[in-house]
Amino acid sequence: MKLTKESILGLIALGTFILMSLIAPGFLGSNNLSNFLFQLPEFGLLALGMMVVIITGGIDLSITYVAALSGVGAALMLTNGYSIISAIVVAIIFGVACGAFNGFVVSKIGVPPILVTLGTMVLFEGVILAITKGNSISGFGDTYSLIGNGYYMGVVPLSILIFIFFAILTGVLLNKSSWGRSIYMYGNNEIATLFSGIRNSRVLMKVYLYVGLLAAISAIIMTSRYNSVKVDLGSSYLLQSVAAAVLGGTNIHGGYGKVIGTVYAVIIFQTLSNGLNLLGVHSAIVDVFIGGILILVLTLNFFSDKMKSKKESRVSSVS
């Protein structure tokens, strides 16, 4: 029987989930499960965005500050008495505009993404500090807080539905649209892609726009959940989202990555941190566990890739 990277990861996710429900008291309690569903989307959306950039062989270090800046946009609208819809629209405009800036410098000027986004990370942080002076903006009203805290039809958290929607959308776009296929091609071989008649810069631009959109959606959920926005909104998700994308099987050099893998990885992270927390494990030890699992899975992936390529070369030499 042959298992893909993703289905192995799915089994690991299932395994950690079962393990935690056996050893962590109250893990399967309805309260904890709903916590679990409420905590997942904001991180999941950022991880999805990160995955898409990594497939192109890039990275977006500014992603959490893009999110924070869109959050500030929404917060300013709400605290000045505008409607929720206009706040959401402004958040998305802010996110997409930040993405456009990143995309412009990466695709048209051709500066490596890690440098561009390192720069914009500091830039956006500065913009937020200039707007907020380091204070938090808070108090958005009860209706807005339903986006992150409300239940759809009284059972399912609304935010997890938003996440599922965007996960499916990302999957469909990557696999079914010509833009999505060009992303994989670009990640595998930039020059070959260019010579197959694809406008690389346009593909890349759209990638960063899409990441900006996902960051903005994540920001809307976060601001609604925490009823407040500050310069460091979600900043701890930055490296975690890279880790989740890579754990999910995305090739850090680009060209490979699947939505379902990233979703499994996000579930593994969330299960571990939630379960270990319930067990009363010190949060530094939780970090150790997550780091350990990441290294373990990456090593396994590395060896299985190596085996595969060996087998392939053997097959080709025999024939």
Partner: protein, 347 residues
């Protein structure tokens, strides 16, 4: 063409979800509120469990308060869960509290990174019958608030210490602060100024309070500038924990330990090297270990349905005072760290 239909379809789907949510979710959250209220009664039969959430873990200040909290747990027979995240991130802190709610603790005491961001989750905790309190930094939705010092007393105390260190009741001084917008620092400075005005009329403050961005390096630079511009400067009052260190560093480098006195709010381990050669005369702060202890002790009282009273004696901490609103507790007088005792502390 296909792409266009796809994106249109997804847009419609998304709007559909949103529209559905606005009409349905109100009822949904009501439901959850009701069902949650039911299971709050079965806790609290045996040992109380008190969760103490710091701003972050792994820095000396909060390690010291952890020690105090755990000692209180052992001595008072309560189950203490001191848990926080490794980064001072508001969203991680909220998740930490959500997890604590799942664990059915009796009391949650939080030192919020961002007071507004913990409002919704503390409300949720209250709905489930959990007592909520804050410590170190005030939050909004709490039953009880533990404050380390009285701002007025703290400011006046620092002013007195500075005059004491200068050895004279007249002369020029300057005030350094962490940031112009920090409410607690401003309260301390105002109190200190009032003390100078009322009791030491010979003291002249040479310039407006100087912001140092909560950075030792900036405080150092500004103090060097001050020494140049005001050659007769006798004293520096520095509030916010990095500022006294920077000021002392400047005085040390210029060799003016005997001419210029520096007093400020700083942790003893950081200030020890400056205290030893007299470039920093006194560091004034509170004892974070006792703060942790007091938080747990009051958390236990809260779980037992009692409220602290003004002037009550808390074993291991001393006499506490309660502000007029009845729910803000002040731990006690500020503590001085000098050359003699700075080595006795590990925070």
């Amino acid at each position: 063409m296909k792409k266009l239909t796809l994106s249109l379809l997804s847009l419609i789907f998304f709007i559909g979800i949103l529209a559905g949510c606005v009409s349905e979710s109100g009822g949904g959250s009501d439901d959850s509120g009701n069902s949650d209220g039911g299971d709050s009664g079965d806790s609290g039969s045996e040992e109380f469990s008190i969760a103490v959430v710091p701003k972050l873990v792994g820095i000396p200040y909060f390690n010291a308060s952890e020690k105090g909290a755990e000692r209180a747990g052992e001595e008072l027979g309560v189950n203490v869960n001191y848990t926080g995240t490794t980064q001072a991130d508001a969203s991680q802190q909220v998740q930490e509290i959500e997890n604590l709610i799942s664990q059915d603790v009796d009391v949650i005491a939080v030192a919020p990174n961002d007071p507004a961001s913990v409002d919704p989750v503390l409300k949720k905790a209250k709905d489930q019958g959990i007592h909520v309190m804050d410590w170190d930094t005030p939050a909004n939705e709490v039953d009880l608030s533990v404050k380390q010092v009285d701002d007025e007393e703290f400011g006046r105390h620092m002013a007195q210490k500075l005059v004491e260190a200068m050895g004279t009741e007249s002369g020029e001084i300057a005030i350094l602060t962490g940031g112009l917008a920090a409410a607690n620092l401003n309260a301390w400075i105002d109190a200190a100024k009032a003390e100078f005005d009322e009791n030491y009329s010979g003291i002249e403050i040479v310039t407006e309070k100087i912001p140092t961005d909560e950075k030792q390096q900036v405080a150092y630079q500004k103090t060097l500038d001050l020494i140049k511009s005001y050659p007769d400067l006798k004293g520096v009052l520095a509030v916010s924990t990095p500022a006294p260190l920077g000021a002392a560093q400047a005085v040390q480098e210029e060799g003016l330990q005997d001419e210029i006195s520096v007093v400020g709010s700083a942790l003893p381990t950081d200030s020890k090297p400056f205290l030893e050669d007299g470039s920093l005369d006194t560091a004034v702060l509170w004892n974070p270990e006792e703060l942790g202890y007091l938080t747990v002790a009051l958390g236990k009282m809260l779980a037992e349905g009692e409220m602290p009273k003004d002037g009550q004696e808390i074993e291991g901490v001393g006499e506490i005072s309660v502000v007029d609103d009845g729910k803000t507790v002040i731990m006690g007088p500020p503590q001085d760290f000098t050359k003699e005792n700075a080595g006795d502390y590990n925070f």
